[in-house]
Amino acid sequence: MPVDWTPLLRLSLDVAGLATAISLVLGVWLAFLLRGRRAVDAVLWLPLVFPPTIVISYFLFPFTGRVAVAAALVYTLPFLLRAARAAFQGVDRDYLNAARMLGASDTRAFVRVVLPLAWRPIISAAAIAFGRVLAEFAATLWIAGRLPVSHP
């Protein structure tokens, strides 16, 4: 029996793309807001240690793509937030200090100096996040799958 995989693939791509895009913007922004706060790091690990199936089951009730995105965000957002924080910390402090000495506000220093110097690792982290959500079989299966599934 031939199976038409197209809708499933579409759904996967949509969910992964949307989740990555949202977490990229949100992650970079949050990383800027939370700069210099070390306590945040520990909290960010938390979502990453839950098994995906458990997390997704919290979002089970209305079975829509939007919920799948929300479920995916639980993973991608902390992942990108961490990556962005690490990337920003990797920028030599001298550049930030130079910007401050030249009269730039924190926001201007961030947008004009720190972000352009740190975007490479952030983009590669986004690619990894995208790949991970795409390969995250469980989420798509719950929502669009017709295969019999069981979960604890």
Partner: protein, 339 residues
């Protein structure tokens, strides 16, 4: 008035405690690694908060521990050139300058950037990224960027800045960290010798180098001949004194404020010593010493004699005497500096 009084503890051992004015010209800070030079600049720039003290720039309080004033770095109006290159690598030189000229209106900004590039001979490199420019030009670029906001003070942290460039930009008061005493003499108005967080000596560069005030200062400015001795005789009438050291005795000028029997340290700069062949008639302060080692320098030869006596000879003087079998070292009385 521009004045800095800064105290800061850095556990476990280091404590910075300095108090000095910054005049309108060039103020140079000289000292060994770890003396706290960069810490002073960082405090004035506002990156670190001293534990106590007060920093005034043109009578504006930038920092005051008692009233808890701490103006953020971006409002201090100080230009800063760090120890390492910090031109933004993703922007061209012109864009770097434009970034710094933000507070001027748009048209004015372009004019100022163009003028500054011209002034520091950078017009040719304006469209290049920092990594495409030679290090010397990058330094000029950084200085241009620091100056474009018309700062009231320029901080220069130990960069290989030439005398000509320093003279060119000295319209702004400059606080310069350096390892180059020649540069201090040539272009600085005031020299601070810093060691372990304290100012050892302060004054006009020539004055400090001619008359080190303490053993520490003499050591730090690189005087190799330092001897501890006893005053054996003092004669104000003949303006002379007799100083006895372990292996030899010297005649010096009269030492006001000292007594016979006092222990004193004597410093003699290596270039003030003269050497003579061993077979000529000894005169005042001629000491026969065996030669230990000769080390060649760019413009001189340094002779090390036993007992830790170092003499720097000009090349031609050295060529004249290099075949001596025996040596006599002359300590001219006027060259003796009592610490």
């Amino acid at each position: 008035m521009t004045h800095a009084r800064i105290a800061r503890q850095i556990p476990p051992r280091f404590a910075l405690d300095v108090d000095f004015p910054i005049g309108p010209g060039v103020t140079a800070i000289y000292g060994p690694a770890g003396a706290g030079k960069t810490l002073i600049l960082e405090s004035i720039a506002g990156f670190i908060r001293p534990d106590s003290g007060r920093i005034l720039l043109d009578d504006v309080i930038l920092f005051d521990a008692e009233s808890r004033v701490h103006v953020p770095p971006r409002r201090r109006n100080i230009g800063c050139v760090f120890q390492r290159d910090s031109l933004f690598p993703h922007l061209t030189l012109r864009q770097n300058l434009m970034f710094a000229a933000k507070r001027f209106p748009r048209l004015d900004r372009h004019r100022r950037v163009a003028e500054m590039l011209d002034r520091l001979h950078l017009a040719g490199a304006a469209a290049s990224r920092p990594r495409e420019i030679a290090p010397a030009e990058r330094l000029r670029g950084e200085i241009a960027r620091a100056l474009i906001g018309e700062p009231k003070l320029l901080l220069l942290d130990d960069r290989a800045i030439g005398e000509a460039l320093l003279r060119e930009i000295r319209v702004v008061p400059i606080l310069l960290v350096t390892h180059d005493l020649d540069l201090c003499c040539a272009a600085a108005d005031e020299l601070l010798i810093l060691d372990a967080g304290r100012i050892v000596q302060r004054g006009a560069p020539r004055q400090v180098l001619e008359h080190p005030a303490s053993l520490e200062a003499a050591r730090l400015i690189g005087i190799p001949n330092l001897f501890e001795g006893v005053i054996a005789a003092l004669d104000p009438g003949r303006d002379s004194s007799r100083l006895e050291f372990g292996q030899f005795a010297l005649t010096g000028p009269y030492l006001p404020g000292h007594f016979r029997g006092d222990r004193v340290w004597v410093a003699v700069r290596s270039e003030d010593l003269r050497v003579h062949p061993g077979d000529i008639e000894p005169q005042i302060n001629f000491i026969s010493l065996p030669l230990v080692r000769i080390s060649q320098r760019a413009r001189s030869a340094r002779l090390e004699f036993s007992g830790g006596v170092f003499a720097d000879l000009s090349r031609e003087e050295f060529d004249r005497q290099k075949d001596n079998k025996e040596w006599q070292v002359e300590f001219p009385p006027s060259a003796l500096r009592i610490l």
